[in-house]
Amino acid sequence: MSAETMEQTVAGERAPVGRVRLAAGRLAGSRGALTGVVVLALLFLLAFVGPYLTPWDYATPDYTALRQPPSGQHWFGTNGLGQDVFAQTVRGLQKSLVIGLLVAVLSTGLASLVGACAGYFGGWTDRVLTFLVDLMLIFPAFLVIAVISPRLRGSGWIAFVVLLAVFNWMITARVIRSMTRSLREREFVAAARFMGVAPFRIIWRHILPNVSSFLIIDATITVGGAVMSEAALSYFGFGVRPPDVSLGTLLAAGAGDAPVFPWLFYFAAGLLVLFVLAVNLVGDGLRDALDPTAAPGRRARKTANSSRRSTS
């Protein structure tokens, strides 16, 4: 870039955009992330509009059609009780989408808050929070949920989401804590401290963005994990109870019949795989958008290289 063009850019001055807009722009430019978002949107559409498309209800059996393969009447076929698999699948998808995403967001959020605070503040805060994490780790989560969930029957699936999240964040928190401890020794954190930036602001603006790659990967893994652990709990009669269904319960019920009656298993399994894949695509895009050294940034770096010579 020559001196003249530099002058021109000075003349046409604009306030530079901030980090959020930059990252959003990079996210929008990532094809993978866009695909993921579109797939997720379609899944939500299917889950919440699907029940109105079919005359069948997820619970009411059709005694005229037991274990029928997919047909014009029952699009995904029926199960042994004569319930419509399509109605069941979209109903289950509703539950699983919400549970998976909410558990991932809640548990990762909690993990980053606790981990970053423990790592950043150190001292007694660290000791108390680490003790809490260790305590939660040694609780047998499955048993505790099993004990508590009957009492929460009235409060519905939200309580169930909270329970799943509360027993899922500890290991992530420990990793975040150690990452924060090394980050807080870095000079840019010291610089922010000396500027008078408040501690939680430092955590929000400097610590969390620098551990975001890990957080995002952790959250995307949690999405799939939450759907499956919900299924495991439902199998034992906690969480989603019959006749209500989720993708997890459908999978658990259909797994044994899969070789003989594939429609009982593969529609639910396919949707779950699609869901987790979409979440991963969005996560990858988000990670690259937040990490300036990642692939989409490389084009920008090249142009910077060629213009670097203009200044020192």
Partner: protein, 704 residues
């Protein structure tokens, strides 16, 4: 002339598609010292490693390296191993990682002997002790049994040299041997290198980025740029009549201990990164003020410039304008554009308001042992009596070796809290008496620039956000903060359009400018600069130093400039404070302290700084300081410097007791003179004033 000992012809090294060395020719003769100078990424270390065949596996080597007529390139590893250490030995930059931590020093040196010589274990051990003695390690018999971590950096580098000369090699390759060391230790190690060279008669290839080190040690110099040698000449000629504009620029860009005033000569642009691909033509063309159209068509060869026989064929330059430079011999400032640095406001010092006043500052850290049952086993006295005084528009240089407590002092000041001991007054406010709101307001008036621009900028934040951060911290509305970003970027010489790029997209010098812009955002009164240029290349450093001078004059800033580099301090500072072992031992105006240092430590420090001028360097009296600084873990009764003090060593016994029992207070040279020294016998025990220069009353220093 006899045939060269080592002849490198058209050496090329590339890593994948990235050429790191692109055709280097070198000749080293028996007993001479060849200096290889260049900035980072110029390929000087790769050249040294390629000679030894020590390149990483990804590197492809071409051309020829001949030792006494024997080709080394392509030699089987086993035969090469017989040459390494025996005929060519290497001294590495980082003495910490060059020794195996789990073996004793003596065993490692003995191993080097036994690998190449059929001697008994005992003989090898005796030889190792002799070698340690040669490099000046006290009590060599005991040092044999020490582990590497028990040695200080300087001691380790000496031991490294001992290991290198164990088999009387013909060639000693030293790759930045003193870069990781303090100046006084650097002087010791360079001296040891010279001794080792003299004792063994080896040729020395000294690779360095420091022109001062090269000027003082080398006989011939080769300057590297972008993987090629651009100029080679005998040392005196190179420094007095450089024929390549890059060499000329380098000489002009170095701040000097013996000169002052005016801006430095920055070379525009930045040095190309290692292996960066370029178009045809001279790689320096983009930065060169003498560039012509023909420079861009083909890369000029390294030739002797036929019209000027002065060099006698030994002065070669790879520049089409070499004859022009040889004929006119311009000063760097006549060739390179030099920025105008406005003169600072010149009100007398007493009339300016104080910005920072520190008196008797102390800070110690408890040391613990044990993990389960932690018990306190002592204290480290990191800062133990620091006095500083800065007025508006003034630069105070804080100088000291590593471990002298400079950084701890800074952090204590910036904490804006009550210090452990002593008193800190910032802009007239005692930091001990500040409440939270007042401390927060004060933060806007003191800002810091860190040493490493790569570490002090958040890699995940665009530079616009980085610069706006201190404003946001002071609760400036976000929109207003954003509007100031372009102006700030322009102020430090960057393109405002780059505000939404991330730090990694900038070069080192540019990142340091971003750091400065961030610090200036809140219009501070005091800028604390913690070694702001020591991570930068010389040619880039000059630009940043000029910027600092310009900003100071324009904005009336005060600087607390911490540095281990006395030349930079001499160039930039108005006043200087010298620290040793957590104490300020000498303060005063730069002119006085550098011309008539009163404390023996300051004298030694100044004498240790190499000058980038071979003639002046040879003419200087040499004053080597023995040993390493003592540990700050124990409190010293009396003067902490006396264990290394040349004045103390020459005193009569009854005078010595005073040094041993009484802590010397800071006393001014004369009433009303801004120059104090904390020494019982300043000026070498003679009456102060009435003399000039560094002529030491100290005993003649130990040489080799």
């Amino acid at each position: 002339m006899t045939s060269p000992l080592l002849a490198v012809r058209n050496l090329t090294v590339d890593f994948g598609d990235h050429p790191a060395v692109r055709g280097v020719d070198l000749e080293v003769h028996r007993g001479e010292t060849l200096g290889l100078v260049g900035e980072s990424g110029s390929g000087k270390s790769v050249t040294a490693l390629a000679v030894l065949g020590l390149l990483p596996a990804a590197g492809r080597i071409g051309g020829s390296v001949q030792l006494d007529g024997r080709e080394l390139v392509g030699l089987p590893a086993k035969q090469l191993a017989g040459i390494r250490g025996r005929r060519i030995a290497m001294v590495f930059q980082d003495p910490l990682s060059a020794f195996t931590p789990v073996y004793r020093i003596g065993d490692q040196i003995a191993e080097a002997v036994r690998v190449h010589q059929p001697v008994s274990r005992d003989a090898a051990r005796r030889r190792a002790a002799d070698l340690l003695d040669l490099v000046g390690i006290p009590d060599p018999k005991r040092a044999l049994d020490a582990y590497p971590h028990e040695f200080s950096g300087g001691m380790r580098q000496r031991a490294m040299i001992a290991m290198a000369v164990a088999n009387d090699p013909d060639i000693l390759l030293a790759d930045e041997p003193t870069t990781a060391l303090d100046v006084t230790i650097q002087a010791q190690v360079l001296d040891v290198l010279r001794t080792a060279q003299r004792e063994t008669g080896a040729a020395l290839v000294l690779v360095s980025h420091d022109l001062g080190v090269i000027a003082g040690s080398a006989d011939r110099v080769a300057v590297m740029y972008a993987g090629r040698i651009v100029e080679t000449a005998p040392v005196d000629e190179l420094f007095t009549a450089p024929r390549h504009p890059y060499t000329l620029g380098l000489i002009g860009a170095v701040p000097r201990l013996d000169g002052r005033g005016g801006p430095l000569v920055p070379i525009p642009g930045r040095p190309p990164a290692a292996g960066e691909l370029r178009g045809p033509g001279c790689p320096f063309a983009d930065r060169c003020p003498l560039v012509e159209d023909r420079c861009r068509t083909a890369e000029p060869p390294l030739t002797g410039g036929g019209t000027h026989p002065a060099g006698g064929g030994t002065h070669l330059a790879a520049c089409l304008r070499a004859d022009h430079l040889a004929a006119t011999r311009p000063a760097p400032a006549e060739v390179y554009p030099v920025p105008e640095v406005p003169a600072a406001d010149a009100a007398p010092r007493e009339e300016r308001e104080p910005v920072l006043a520190v008196s008797g500052l102390t800070r110690s850290f408890p040391r613990y042992r044990g993990t389960l049952l932690r018990r306190r086993i002592g204290e480290t006295f990191a800062v133990d009596g620091v006095d500083l005084d800065i007025r508006r528009g003034e630069t105070l240089g804080l100088v000291g070796e590593s471990g002298s407590g400079k950084s701890t002092t800074l952090y204590e000041i910036l904490k804006l809290a009550a210090p452990q001991g002593g008193r800190i007054e910032l802009l007239g406010q005692d930091t001990a008496a500040l409440d939270r709101a007042a401390a927060h307001r004060l933060r806007a008036r003191v800002q810091i620039v860190f040493q490493d621009p790569a570490a002090s900028l958040d890699p995940r934040m665009p530079v616009g956000d980085v610069i706006a951060e201190p404003l946001l911290a002071q609760r400036v509305p976000a929109a207003d903060a954003r509007r100031r970003i372009p102006e700030l970027l322009r102020q430090v010489g960057l393109d405002p359009a780059h505000a939404d790029r991330y730090p990694h997209e900038f070069s080192g010098g540019q990142r340091q400018r971003i750091s400065i812009a961030r610090a200036l955002a809140v219009r501070p009164d005091l800028l604390v600069l913690d070694e702001p240029v020591s991570a930068l290349d010389v040619s880039v450093q000059a630009g940043v130093l000029n910027l600092l001078q310009q900003l100071k004059a324009e904005l009336g800033l005060a600087y607390l400039f911490v540095s281990h580099d006395l030349s930079v301090v001499r160039h930039l500072a108005d006043r200087v404070a010298v620290m040793y072992l957590g104490r300020t031992v000498e303060t005063g105006t730069v002119e006085r302290v550098f011309a008539e240092p009163r404390h023996p430590y300051t004298r030694a420090l100044l004498a240790a700084v190499p000058l980038p001028d071979p003639a002046a360097e040879r003419a200087r009296p040499r004053l080597l300081l023995a040993g390493d600084p003592p540990s700050p873990a124990e409190r010293h009764l009396g003067c902490p410097f006396r264990s290394r003090c040349p004045v103390h060593a020459a005193l009569a016994p009854e005078q010595r007791t005073r040094c041993a029992t009484e802590l010397p207070p800071a006393t001014p040279a004369a009433p009303g003179v801004d120059h104090t020294a904390a020494c019982h016998f300043p000026d070498g025990g003679r009456p102060p004033l009435g003399h000039a220069g560094t002529d030491p009353a100290c005993p003649p220093p130990r040489r080799g």
